[in-house]
């Protein structure tokens, strides 16, 4: 029996369907990330789990128990909102203590736990501070401490870092992961940022137009996206249409590519994904090792990105491909004709 299970949930606003028969399951102490572009329905799914939205169809089960008639305040789920929704009329410790008061804990216990939460998120000195005087990062921490204080059975985070600026985000991301792993909190994080999802999640569910397109570990997701939409959303753009030739090769406009295509019929239409880390430049006279594919083209642009070069190569069929080349090799210049060697492990085949 799964810790949390979502079965066939559908929800629409007016005539617009937002969730289309979504199902997922997660285990205790897992960190699940729901990743999707804006409008994909991920926040609505989170609010359905919280009980703030009522699904038209389907159910949410917690440890096998249907939550249909359990109102949000009785679910004992914690939730951190976009923009945090801190109570403006209470100070920092007043915000953190709110849920503890609702549990009816004695004053001394409330004070003790509030103190613990403040030190957990590293805000010891700020307990009497007005929330309007806090910085963005401090607000985020108060919101996290507030939702953790009553020891929720499940923590729901809606874009926890969404409204912060880039530099702050990376630091808080690591802190967030550290805190969640430290206390072993079962958590669902909603985000539109792949880097954020890859950094915190055990499992990622990619949402696309109100449905879960793929749910897997971050590694598997990156290696083997289920379809071109997922690949594109993960920032993988080298997608080429082709037809299966043999078990280990696909014909494409780029020529014959060596790639494992087990279990697919000959002639089946597929999309080939070439990951950006797949290529190395090789001199034109060097013979290709067995199993590796070769692509030739003209460098259109080359961007130095610190750890790597970001190169755009146009092939004869004027297909644009993007690669990250290690910076220890000499950089190609725009206009250069190059011969690229693609390692078979970095190429995958998807349906469509």
């Amino acid at each position: 029996m799964a810790f949390l299970q979502v079965n066939d949930v559908s929800k629409s606003f007016g005539d617009t369907p937002v969730l289309r028969r979504v199902s997922l399951a997660m285990e205790e102490t897992q960190i699940l990330c729901i990743l999707g572009p804006s409008g994909s329905g991920k926040t609505t799914l989170l609010r359905v789990i919280a009980g703030l939205e009522r699904p038209e169809q389907g159910s949410v089960l917690f440890k096998g128990r249907d939550l249909r008639n359990t109102r949000p305040h009785l679910r004992r789920f914690g939730m951190m909102f976009q923009e945090y929704a801190l109570f403006p009329h209470l100070d920092v410790s007043g915000n953190i203590a709110f849920g503890l008061h609702m549990l009816g804990l004695p004053r001394s216990e409330v004070a003790k736990r509030t103190g613990e939460m403040l030190s957990l998120v590293g805000l010891e000195g700020l307990s009497r501070r007005n929330v309007s005087e806090l910085s963005g990062g401090e607000r985020q921490r108060v919101a996290l401490a507030r939702s953790l204080a009553p020891y929720p059975r499940l923590l729901l985070l809606d874009e926890p870092l969404g409204s912060l600026d880039r530099g702050l985000r990376e630091k808080l991301l690591l802190d967030l992961r550290e805190i969640l792993r430290h206390i072993g909190m079962t958590t669902i994080v909603v985000t539109h940022d792949q880097a954020e999802a890859f950094a915190v999640a055990d499992t990622i569910a990619v949402m696309h137009r109100g449905d879960i397109a793929q749910m897997d570990t971050p590694e598997n997701l990156y290696r083997q996206p289920a379809n071109p939409d997922v690949a594109r959303f993960l920032g993988l753009v080298n997608l080429i249409h082709g037809r299966v030739e043999t078990d280990s090769s696909v014909t494409t406009p780029l020529g014959l590519l060596h790639v494992l295509a087990h279990g697919r019929e000959q002639g089946e239409a597929v999309t080939v994904l070439i990951r950006p880390d797949a290529a190395v430049i090789r001199p034109s006279d060097e013979p290709a090792p067995p199993g590796a594919s070769v692509v030739e083209g003209i460098v259109h642009d080359c961007l130095f990105k610190g750890r790597s070069y970001h190169v755009e190569v146009r092939t004869a069929g004027s297909q644009a491909l993007f690669f990250d080349l290690p910076q220890n090799t000499p950089a190609p210049a725009a206009g250069d004709r190059v011969r690229l060697l693609l390692s078979p492990g970095a190429i995958t085949v998807m349906p469509g």
Binding site: G14, L52, R76, E83, A85, F87, P88, S132, S147
Partner: protein
């Protein structure tokens, strides 16, 4: 600042300042001296008598508790409506919201007449009950009862709470109360512990405003309350007009002025704090469309109840004005144009309409003459001068019309300013009441014109005067019209000051209605209804036209 700039600025405010000095501060000063030194000698006896006699303490007590109770009732009834307007988008919303403000702009005599038409002894409901069930006397006895007064006050001020609290509420993100629920708060706890405290500054501001209006209520109490009830305002009027006890009236006026200034001071402070607490949210995030049947019931049910409560007295007024003893006819309207034998007027009441329109037009012109220079002066930040003069020019707003009218009687009665016999005294008082509205209407428009627009006009070769006519004036034309209509409607419905100042043979429409209501006989009552209906239509039309013209979504009170 360049000397020429200073000179033109002084020229700009010279006339308004002189007007304010002669027609506001001088009468106020006369009230002070009459109450503190009645015979030209320092004598605090009247003031002392004010606090030692039981009757004036009773008046003060009644004024306070009826205002407090009216406020509590208004807030309690308007809060659910404010929620609906804050949280839902629905068709016709802004028009409906405008309509809820109609009672607020109606002259107090019309409101009193409308309630009398619906629930009074001679009202529709009683008439129907007597006709249908055979009661020999009116079964609903609300005339001259406190319930009647409270109902009228709630009717009047409903929109104040709806607008201020609704506006405040719509800027509060619904996730605040969701967050409370996720932390284990029941819907009720979430309301008490989060929503209400967050809304508190808005509720307080609205409640104080309602309290101020009810504290200085005059027409409603005078007409609906009868001789049993008196607020300070009514007491001033009775002392001055019925008992000719001018020192006592002055002492009461002084008391009223002190209270009003204190309330307004607290209000401006509250208003400042009301704008601080939370980052305002966009309406897109806080409002939703009607989606479920429950939403439908909540929204349309609320709208229905609002229209039932706010609409039925006004509808009753119209119906009552048309239903005569011999069925539906325009008898009462025709009677307005005749000088019937039993009429208490020795002129046809239609003349009252003529006088009212005349006074209102004069008021309109004078308010623009005073208000426009003031607005132009205040539109630029002139440092200390602006921050001192802005509240100074708004002071008449914090002064009740009755004290103003009384002040004119005691101040403008001897040469060189003997205006007691002059017709002009009425529009003068109206101008003082109306010009702050003109200033407040024009000022936001003027302030919103970026300096670089003027500057580019100047660089294109326009002289300062040209810049005004060719650039600034066209941009504020709309707010000028708004200010003008404001002045007109304020004047046409003004009662508190007019009741002191208008000569018996030159009555205004509200005055005529008041007199008709006080007379027995179906014809008098019917004429009161007919004139009230006309006045209601004029004011409501003017106001709804204003709402259409107004650019910003929120009104300033």
């Amino acid at each position: 600042m360049r000397p020429s700039g200073t000179r033109s600025a002084i020229l700009l405010v010279a006339l308004p300042l002189a007007f304010l000095g002669v027609f506001y501060f001088y009468p106020l000063f006369e009230i002070f001296s009459l109450s503190l030194a009645p015979g030209g000698q320092w004598d605090p006896g009247t003031i002392a008598a004010l606090f030692s006699t039981g009757s004036s303490l009773r008046i003060l007590w009644f004024t306070t508790w009826q205002a407090a109770l009216s406020t509590v009732l208004t807030v309690a009834l308007a809060l659910p409506a404010a929620y609906v307007f804050a949280r839902y988008r629905f068709p016709g919303k802004s028009l409906i919201q405008s309509c809820t403000a109609v009672p607020f702009v109606l002259p107090s005599v019309v409101v009193a007449a409308a309630f009398s038409a619906l629930l009074g002894d001679r009202g529709l409901l009683n008439e129907w009950l007597m006709g249908t069930w055979g009661f020999s006397s009116p079964p609903i006895r609300l005339d001259q009862s406190i319930a009647f007064i409270l109902m009228a006050h709630v009717f009047y001020n409903f929109t104040v709470v709806l607008r201020i609290v609704g506006g405040f509420w719509s800027r509060m993100h619904p996730d605040l109360s969701h967050a409370a629920k996720m932390l284990g708060a029941s819907p009720w706890q979430a309301f008490w512990k989060v929503t209400l405290p967050v809304l508190r500054p808005g509720i307080m501001a609205a409640a104080l405003l309602v309290f101020i209006f009810c504290f200085s209520s005059f027409g409603v109490i005078l007409i609906l309350g009868g001789p049993r009830y008196a607020t300070i305002e009514v007491a001033i009027y009775r002392q001055a007009v019925h008992l000719f006890n001018l020192p006592m009236a002055a002492a009461l006026s002084l008391l009223q002025i002190c209270f009003m200034f204190a309330f307004m001071w607290v209000y401006t402070r509250l208003q400042r704090s009301a704008s601080v607490p939370f980052t305002p949210e966009s309406l897109k995030a806080t409002q939703r469309d009607i989606a479920t049947n429950r939403d439908r019931v909540v929204v349309w049910g609320t709208v229905f109840l609002i229209f039932l409560f706010l609409g039925s007295p006004l509808l009753a007024l119209v119906v009552r004005s048309l239903s005569t003893g011999s069925g539906v006819s325009l008898l009462y309207y025709r009677a307005i144009f005749e000088n019937t034998g039993q009429s208490i007027f020795y002129i046809p009441p239609v003349l009252a309409i003529g006088y009212s329109v005349g006074f209102a037009l004069v008021t309109l012109v004078m308010s623009l003459c005073i208000g426009l220079p003031v607005a132009i002066f205040l539109s630029r930040d002139r440092g200390l001068a602006t921050s001192l003069l802005d509240p100074l020019f708004m002071l008449p707003l914090a002064t009740s019309a009755v004290t103003l009218g009384f002040g004119y009687i005691v101040a403008l009665d001897e040469p060189p300013l003997n205006l007691r016999a002059s017709l002009f005294i009425v529009p003068l008082a109206h101008t003082l009441v109306a010009y702050p509205f003109v200033v407040r209407s024009i000022l936001p428009g003027l302030r919103s014109i970026p300096a670089h627009i003027r500057e580019s006009a100047m660089l294109l070769g326009a002289a300062p005067g040209k810049v005004w006519w060719k650039v600034v004036a066209p941009m504020v034309r709309r707010s000028l019209v708004v200010g003008a209509i404001f002045a007109f409607t304020v004047s046409i419905g003004e009662f508190g000051a007019t009741v002191f100042l208008a000569r018996p043979e030159v009555p205004t429409v509200p005055l005529a209605i008041y007199r008709f209501l006080g007379q027995p006989g179906a014809l008098n009552y019917g004429q009161a209804m007919a004139m009230s209906t006309i006045l209601m239509l004029v004011t409501a039309a003017g106001f709804l036209f204003l709402e259409k013209l107004r650019t910003g979504p929120e009104g300033e009170f």
